[in-house]
Symmetry: D2
Subunit: 298 residues, 4 copies
């Protein structure tokens, strides 16, 4: 299936800013390189972790180009192009395609809660203007709208909408998708603490920012699942679960940047109003990281 280019661990790089709160493209490229070198199966810039909605159009374009240049076809790329208006979403989707992205990810951003009909028209309008595949992203916590399984099923009837990323944190959504749409449906888990449950349920991949900190554990979990080895998958999941919960609880950009610093990697500054974790939170993360990393070598 050419239209389902992703599987395994799809890594979300952070967007680093400099002291003047400008995007630092050279540092961003280093982030991307780390993820590819670590063996991640896909790279997804301009996601929640990459603070997409806080960037200007020009910055989004620069990040898109930087990703595609740096990845250089080693793995597929999934570029976030979501926008409140249909017109801008089309603009960024077309830009990503032209720049060489493998696929685009689109969440139905909402200020006014969109009706099902508006959501369908929105995706349809974008899908008709590009020819690369689209991953539909459901995350009511950030988009303000919860797409029902029935609506997701309808969206999958649009030709180049071929993948679904679910981040509601409810593993039963995945059961429904798989049960209703058949084993061929490609669904991806975006809820880190559900990594084991989602893979058990048959998720094709795991969209995660955790790969910035513990790619080896993320990938090992996926491998155990592929081998059908439940005991090993469970063991690996419990090794990393505390970190997965922490980064979600504290916010991905804040947690990942703090984690990178703890690992001795430069992750850049924030754009206001987002701020770094507090010293107490950093100490807690440090403790969790030590535990998780220690566990690997043990």
């Amino acid at each position: 299936m050419n239209n389902i280019p992703f599987k395994g661990v799809i890594a979300y790089p952070v967007t680093p800013f400099n002291n003047a709160e400008k995007v630092d493209i050279p540092l961003f490229k280093k982030q991307v390189e780390r993820l590819v070198a670590a063996g991640c199966h896909g790279i997804a810039p301009l996601g929640s972790t990459g603070v997409l909605p806080y960037l200007t159009d020009e910055e989004k374009e620069a990040v898109t180009i930087a990703t595609i240049e740096q990845v250089a076809h080693r793995v597929p790329t999934l570029v976030g192009v979501s926008n409140l208006t249909t017109q801008k979403t089309i603009h960024h989707a077309q830009f990503a395609e032209k720049a060489g992205a493998t696929a685009v990810m689109i969440i139905p951003m909402s200020y006014w809660k969109l009706t099902d009909s508006e959501i369908i028209q929105h995706y349809d309008a974008v899908a008709s203007k590009i020819s690369i595949p689209i991953m539909v992203y459901n995350n009511p916590a950030t988009s303000g709208v919860d797409m029902s399984p029935a609506l997701l099923k309808q969206l999958l009837e649009i030709p180049n909408i071929t993948m679904i990323k679910e981040s509601t944190g409810d593993v039963q959504r995945m059961h429904f998708l798989r049960k209703t749409l058949g084993e061929a449906v490609a669904f991806y888990n975006g809820s880190n603490p559900l990594a084991l449950a989602a893979f058990a349920a048959g998720a094709n991949g795991w969209c995660t920012a955790a790969a910035n900190l513990i790619p080896e554990l993320n990938i090992a979990l996926y491998d155990a699942v592929q081998n059908g080895d439940l005991h090993e998958a469970r063991r690996l999941f419990y090794r990393q679960v505390n970190l997965l919960k922490f980064i979600v609880a504290k916010g991905l950009p804040r947690s990942i940047k703090a984690g990178l610093t703890l690992l001795g990697v430069e992750g850049g500054e924030f754009r206001s109003p987002l701020k770094p974790l507090s010293q107490d939170e950093i100490a807690e993360l440090s403790h969790i990281l030590d535990e998780v990393k220690g566990a690997v070598t043990a």
Copy 2:
């Protein structure tokens, strides 16, 4: 209190678009004129009703200028300047002040749920750059973050933050604010179906898009409350409550534009992905409007 320039019915105009989905400034000015002429006590462009987040920076500036020109100091103006980033919020707040706005309204827009500390820094940064008063707007349904009464209390310590608009739909928040902060606190109701309960609780004003359709009933309710006449206030509230519920349930921009058309007033088109109400919904609104308007003359 010079710093609390609003009371009564603060009207939210829609932003009209033309067939090419561009903002129609001349038509917008007509909307503003209708609201002022109807006796509304304040005009609030670039709110939720005015689809602020769907507009470009240039469009926001044009709408700001158009409002201030058209209102021409007849009533105070409250310009929405909320933005995801602190820098852009400052930019728009400064623009509004320079253009002559009486005050600005700021909701802590969030993609990543902001911490209390980030929210305080955000407001503080903006407040320090302007000298006109700020109305803090709490509406978790659109902002993604629910500011606790304790946090709101802290924000009121920033000098030019002098007003709070509450749209959680929980009248007990208003009780808390009034009880904790004393009778001097200026709070405004942004939840239309709570109009009576909020005025009973002592709200200074009612921020409403309903004034586009039934300004005479909105104002009459405020007047009854000012006179301390509970029976008349109750009677007036029940005359309009069905309309208030409808416009909230269906989304303000969609409902108000449909209502304007039913009243023979041009309200302009939408910007995608937002679409007009369905024919069935318009028929329902027509029935409600007839009932409400009939009640007035009865």
Copy 3:
């Protein structure tokens, strides 16, 4: 309307236990007497405050008889007869009628969430076996089932179901009832912190345990509302709101018994697992009571 025997402040006595956790009927009668003497407009034993579900059948019967004897027709009585099974509900409703109760209150207790059809059959079965009026009580927080306004409307078609008590804490339910069912519908507020909003919305009465502690303030609020005096109603509400919030937050039986002790009135012990408030909570209540009582004389 003979079938709507309640208005004003309907007081809920606590059920006192002795040291052996047995119901103390003589002490219970003193509670009832205090409430009648204070001018409450109705007495409602065996409610949530009276820990109905923690009592045996025999205890419920003894409390019913004690109430009716003590009240001696001075004000109407509203006896709680709710039970998980239809058969037992009928039993207690018939007992209350025979004992001389003015009306009974019934909440659809649920372990298994009841369907609308089951709820209707339940009320219908009970209503057909008694001839005194029934107050339907909606309180999803304790019953586990939230009766929609549409279902409540249906229940009101059963002849002797003539009153509705709403405790969802959502004043909009009351708007709907009044708007849909007309001014004749008798609805009662069971959510203490909503006392002002509910009266503003036209509630016939206020079902409250607060009358054990501050009956004079509860009654004064009702009187102000009857006089249509919104400013006085608001003033009286803000005088008592902190107490209203406290007793709800901490649980009515615990809070009321602690308050009685603070007022020098014997309220009896608890039945396990319910326990008294902690010392810190009692200190907080003491402070609130002082403030509220002080306010009265000020």
Copy 4:
């Protein structure tokens, strides 16, 4: 560990009533026999499925005795003894122990939301009066109180509290228990649609009413998990998931009795207000059962 007597599929029999709504003990014994004969690993009478709270004390005792007689030590028995009052809970727990139950299950039934301290005292009081192990049951949807993982951890420090049944439907609770308490903690899944996720997370057993209808599939899923065979476990889970979702959505007693009838097994009548499924619901269940059963032989 002698104190953890359960693993695998713990089956919940329904309580059958006759036409006069009396408990039918001989028919109940047939239900128990079917479950034991089918290979279930434990029998749990007087649970939610067995409509515990709708029964009189005498009926509860008769059902307890009938279960223990019929099971005759072939598998362990887990008797539900939950009650609103501590005294009655002790009474039933002692009765169950004397009658020969292997263990008892206790949910903190709440009318008044219990504080953590009240919950601890409640369990402690019961635990000190019996010597068989206790399974603590967390199910906020029916008990009205959600025990936090921290509280559950505290309860496990009481000597004969050795097992936890989680029915919140949130698999992350199980992750927390296992991660915090170590691999030795015995936790059981009570949320049917989470069967796969819970077993993947390391649950010791599955408390389920589904075993009345598809014991072979429930047991096969457990076996696949024991073998660490994720692919087979996933296949088996998807075969039964539609049935698991249906029985939860429609209520276990109603669904299981309808399913028994469809399978040609007598399940008895209901006690009001509970009523049978509608004809449409029964048709839907029939379709699901055909599909699931067909899948087994295919």
